[in-house]
Amino acid sequence: MNPEPRSSESSEAISRGFQHLLPLGVVLAAIFTIGYFQATSAFPFAFDPYWFMGTSRVVVQSGSVPHLEIPTPFATTSTFVNIGYVPTQSTGPAALGLLFGIDFFAAEQAQTTIIAAALMLLVFALARRITDSSVAAFVAAILLLTTPYVFARWNFFVPENVALAAFLASMYLIMSGNQKPFLVALLLFGGLAFHPRSFIFFAPMLFVAWFFLGTQGRTFSRVIRRMFRRESIAATATLVIVGLPYLEALRINLYYFLFVGATYTLAVSFEGQAPSLEQISTLLNLYIALLAAPPAVLFALRWKTISLGKRVLLIWWIATWLMFFAAPIRNFPVDRFAFYVAVPTGILGGAFADVLVSRFRRSKWSRKQALTAVIVAALLGPAAFGLNESPLKNPWVAWGNSEAAAVTFVEEMTAGRDDFVIFTPEYSLPYGYGLRHVELREEVIAAVLDDVTDVSELRCRLSEEYPSSSTFVIIYTNISRNQLGTRYPVLRAFDPATAAFARTTVWVYELPRC
């Protein structure tokens, strides 16, 4: 179906509003783009494109897309393991390099920047579809862009973007009535092939989107009203309940920022909630079972005679279980969460801006004043990013099962002790595992690593820095070793044979005092 025809008055208002905001949007986009490209010189060791640039080189040199293992000398270590990723992300720069001889790094940056633009456009279109307001759509797009900045995890645009963009595109097609199943399937599953773990995050959301937004001409206020209808209240409640655990990330980050002196966003591990028999008896499970099981049985028995609305309830039931099993998955770092949460933040922020503008209009504020307020709101994101004190605004993120095992090992090793300090260049170290005495001040980490060249020097330097600690626990992964090792040679000086814990991608060392 074609989009709903808007009245000429409404279209005119939208055009006027957009004309005011367009120059600002261009300026902001230019600032972000310039900042992004300048990152090559400012943070040369902590920049995701280097990773994909390396993989692109492997593609071109080996003649095949790496999917399992690459023998040396192509890989920097003996194995090249992609945990859950189809590395098509780096195939793009490789293809460009082969076709046009373009530098991999430039190609990777162009890809990231263009996908960021595509994401902004999609959120813009989605928000305009929902709110019917260009102002709201503009704010939504800006918020989408700035939310990862606030969390200082811009690099998550690189591995995650295609899955997210495909999800948004699918959502847009559903919302606009352009429900071409083949294209939706291509977008969703093709995009998820770039990041299979995203599927378990996005699939329930797509069900919900289909449920709430699937009808032509549904505005944001109608969606909200629909969410609180009798037949929808269970689905809404489920969304809220499933979403609550994610607030833990916010709580932990606030705590560490305010009371521990952390200068960067912490990666919170959401503990897995794969239901066991014991957990089935918990209140939450009981709620879901009581609420969902009887209608499910009823629907199964009377499928052919029940109404469309009740069939939708069945979809809700399936989505609930999907979300319950899949959404609070293990090892879902806050970085990725922050990135995904940028989408609803953007859309809700846009809707809020819409309300704001219409209120100003009613209260006889001038359009200029209203727009100023919206612009100020849109600038809050970049401002927050500027206030982030991290010297490494694009830290490497290396997170997988091995890292989880390493952190669990450290947790067990340090249980019941207080005479240690965990000192690690892994800025993505997962928190939420009960780790204590972690050095979170990046400037201290950088200063210590800068001063030493071998392990014995590091021990002495750490002994100076932490006079009351008798043991120092060092954790690093192969990515930080390879990338940060250029700047901090001590990271390459460790002997893997002496590691307390060793996997192919992560090592833990326990160093006594000097």
Partner: protein, 113 residues
């Protein structure tokens, strides 16, 4: 890295990803109108999935070596196929056959009013 290299990379992305994506989107959403910003973004994402996915599966499933020739061939097929569907086959009725070949995926879920 010079500005010219960056510009070339951006233009390269537009050619290699946006163009096939746009054409395939035209094929798949032939009689449907969507907003320009969304159309552009969806085109780019579709192109990214098709081009990168084709290269990956050519290598992963069919053991095709990734070199200049194979990548150029994949890119050309992805570019020419939708053009053929849109223009050459448009009047011959083959487009309907193509849509029927897609089975339920080729039909509209909700016919337009």
């Amino acid at each position: 890295m010079t500005l010219a290299e960056v510009a070339l990379a951006v233009i390269g992305y537009v050619v290699v990803f946006l163009l096939p994506g746009f054409l395939w989107t035209r094929v798949l959403l032939r009689d449907r109108r969507i907003e320009l910003p969304a159309n552009l973004a969806i085109s780019f994402v579709v192109g990214l999935i098709l081009v990168n996915g084709s290269i990956f599966f050519a290598s992963f499933l069919f053991q095709v070596s990734i070199n200049q020739l194979s990548v150029a061939a994949i890119f050309t097929v992805l570019l020419i196929a939708p053009v053929g569907i849109l223009f050459r086959l448009k009047d011959s009725g083959l487009l309907k056959i193509f849509q029927r070949l897609l089975g339920p995926f080729g039909r509209r879920l909700r016919p337009g009013k």
